[in-house]
Symmetry: C2
Subunit: 453 residues, 2 copies
């Protein structure tokens, strides 16, 4: 990673090195912020499996937020210490852990000074849009944690390891749904006879997504002005349960959220199909987004880390492999579930979010493919596999966690937030304009009877 | 301001009304956040003079930050209570004050609930680029105060007075210096055969300017998704000391900062000319920006407040009246100062900032002019007047406050921050690439001997 003391090795896993050689790959110091999370933990295992020295930072905020809302991961997850011990048994590698919060600047500074990472992978953010929309408290917590945490990281890297590569998890949700193609971070604009390449304009759809937009702007500045190097991974919606390493031992499984706050679309749909809850399509379901398999998240992060940005470069990758509408996913899950003997229905719920339900969507995702990403595309086999794993945890599923409650519009937050809206009887916030449901709305937003894809 | 109960009155000062009629204008409830500041206090006086009910919020952070850095306003300013009493003597109007910080959500919520403003004018932010670049502490304080304060405001308005118009002070510095014309907040982009009108891309030049970019994105969201109404005033660099109301009584004068942290270009240049300090041009001085007279700031804010944005509208005005390069201003001050018997020199200092010193710059500023702004253009008379006022406070000027110290690049902050770099002997951070000054730099960045404009 520059500076002369590091070299590239191994064409298959080209990996920049500083510290020591381990097998064919030369080890680097990897610091994973949020290393106890859904993606952070599998990422830590992957880099450790490759022989890198891995340290993780976590303050267990995700586990704590679940405690606060009386929800839990579908998969039973071990404590961090047990996870680390199990991994050491399997691999012989010890992952170091630092327990603390990235929004505490002195703490993060000390960790960076001790680890002296070659690459930092930054997942340590409040990652839920509904969480950020619940109340002022939740919004402030989200933006403070995410924005100040990233600021602290920028300063710690600048101070101790200015050549370190920051790999930051962003989100495709930063872009919103513009009426033009979504490019990877920048766009060439021709205007009044002149032109420039400028940051792609952002129209994020929640206060969480806004925090990621703020992070992107701050990191871009750190690269432009301080010469730091960073890759912003604007990730689509992730689905999947297992990676090669988490499948090795029950103590290594990663968390799998299916509640309305932390669960994501496809994961939730599969859980709903297993327990006989209607599949929760918000509004018309024409909302189109980029999606990817959790295995591809690991591939993408690894590609970014092993092909670092240049000093001063703020590089943006759009990290997804396929685009789907929400309704397409619902129908895919419905069809596969029927093939394995389940009888799921698809139900159109009044959309709790404020978003376009039919819109143009075409996002570019060339850069990671050009660097060697080999996608695991979504197919029936993946759905069958997820349904099967979920069935194994069926007795852990709590029905009350599934229905959408958190609403984007004012005046509907408090009540809806406290009420446990029964599935299929969801009232309020109908027809997307903040007014109460009209007679006939239930029909319009009701259950689908026909099968389709 | 919508809702049916308010009407427009008076063609000269068209003013929306709710509460009570006072003379020709109908009074509205005006809440000014940061109402003790350079612009906040004159704004409070102006709205009060027009007969509106004015309440202000301030936590005296600007006064406190000056205490911390042993600097002070050129003008001796009265305490807030004395200011308010003096204004009541002159006008008969009582300005209400609430002492507290906007980043304390419960406090701001209570104030908004009590005042029930028709319009909020939000100046309550850390406003200095150099301050934000001093250290991690300063950066975090800046983004926390500004971003969380604005978030708190959004929620308080949504909760208590969703029809209230938020007038937010932004900055032209959000845009940076792109190679295309700077439009007012939005730009129509044609791309791959499609087009959309999207937020104008931002390339801010400091962590302070970034905080304003974040605010703009957050407020835009509040308008798009909650239907709030806001006007973002992307203001240029303000100059000037007096307004009609502050000139009425010495107890009503507003602050005037000339130190390297809170002072702005033209104000600083005039102080430097008076005390015989070289005029501090950073680098080549080709940096071009929009500027405006403090009297025009008041005009613009009044125009925005009396022509509110529509519900759901996030309106952006570029608030400046003229563009100048830094060197043009230095030469203007030099020439005028010579005419009144001073002997100022213009000195090119190694640029402590990271910024282009020669660049394309053309920003649109049509919207406020279309609504009736009548600019006070910068001329010799204004400079003579400023020099005259400053001469009256000459014995209050501290030479040590004037030279630039805070640097944008890493590794140069601590030392430069503590050192009192003597004018004309400024070392470090030369030639804009973070390396120490080379032999010859002093010549290259030295004093100008010839007069010019």
């Amino acid at each position: 990673m520059g500076g002369g003391e590091k070299i590239l090795v191994n064409a298959e896993h080209p990996c920049v090195c500083k510290t020591r050689r381990v097998g064919i790959v030369t080890a680097v110091q990897v610091l994973i912020l949020g290393g106890d999370g859904y993606l952070g933990w599998p990422t830590a295992l992957r880099f450790s499996a490759r022989g890198h020295d891995v340290a993780i930072v976590d303050n267990f905020s995700r586990r704590y937020w679940h405690l606060q809302q009386s929800t839990d991961s579908l998969t039973p997850i071990a404590s961090l210490e047990d996870r680390i011990s199990a991994w050491q048994e399997h691999s012989g590698h010890r992952i170091r852990s630092f327990i603390g919060s990235v929004d505490e600047g002195d703490f993060l500074d000390r960790v960076v000074a001790e680890v002296l990472p070659d690459v930092v992978i930054h997942y340590a953010e409040q990652p839920s849009a509904p969480f950020s929309m619940k109340s002022r408290h939740h919004a402030v917590l989200t933006q403070k944690t995410n924005v100040i945490g990233t600021l602290n990281l920028m300063f710690a890297i600048r101070e101790h390891v200015p050549d370190c590569h920051i790999v930051k998890l962003g989100t495709m949700g930063e872009y919103g749904t513009p009426n033009i193609d979504i490019e990877e971070g920048y766009i060439e604009i021709h205007h009044k006879g002149r032109s420039d390449v400028l940051p792609y304009p952002k129209l994020p759809g929640s206060l969480y997504h806004l925090s990621k937009v703020h992070d992107s702007h701050n990191l871009h500045f750190a690269c432009r002005v301080w010469g730091l190097r960073a890759t912003d991974l604007n990730q689509g919606v992730v689905y999947g349960i297992e990676t090669d390493e988490t499948a090795l031992d029950p103590r290594l499984v990663t968390r799998f959220d299916y509640d309305e706050v932390f669960g994501t679309a496809l994961n939730r749909f599969c859980v709903q199909a297993v327990i006989g809850h209607p599949i929760t399509v918000y509004g018309e379901g024409g909302q189109t987004r980029g999606f990817l398999n959790i295995r591809d998240t690991l591939q993408c992060v690894e590609i970014a880390a092993t092909h670092p940005a240049a000093p001063g470069e703020f590089r943006v990758f759009n990290q997804f492999t396929e685009q789907f509408s929400v309704l397409e996913l619902a129908h895919l899950v419905q069809r596969c579930a029927r093939e394995v003997g389940l009888e799921p229905t698809v139900r159109h719920y009044p959309n709790p979010r404020v978003e376009a339900e039919q819109h143009y969507y075409h996002a570019v995702n060339d850069k990671l493919l050009a660097l060697g990403l080999e996608p695991h595309y979504l197919g029936d086999e993946l759905i069958f596999s997820m349904l099967n794993v979920i069935r194994g945890y069926r007795d852990r599923i709590s029905l009350g966690e599934v229905a959408p409650k958190t609403r984007w519009r004012p005046g509907e937050l408090g009540a809806a937030d406290e009420e446990d809206v029964p599935a299929g009887a969801d009232a309020g916030a109908a027809n997307g304009n903040g007014s109460p449901p009209r007679p006939g709305d239930d029909d319009m937003l009701g259950e689908e009877t026909g099968a389709a894809v």
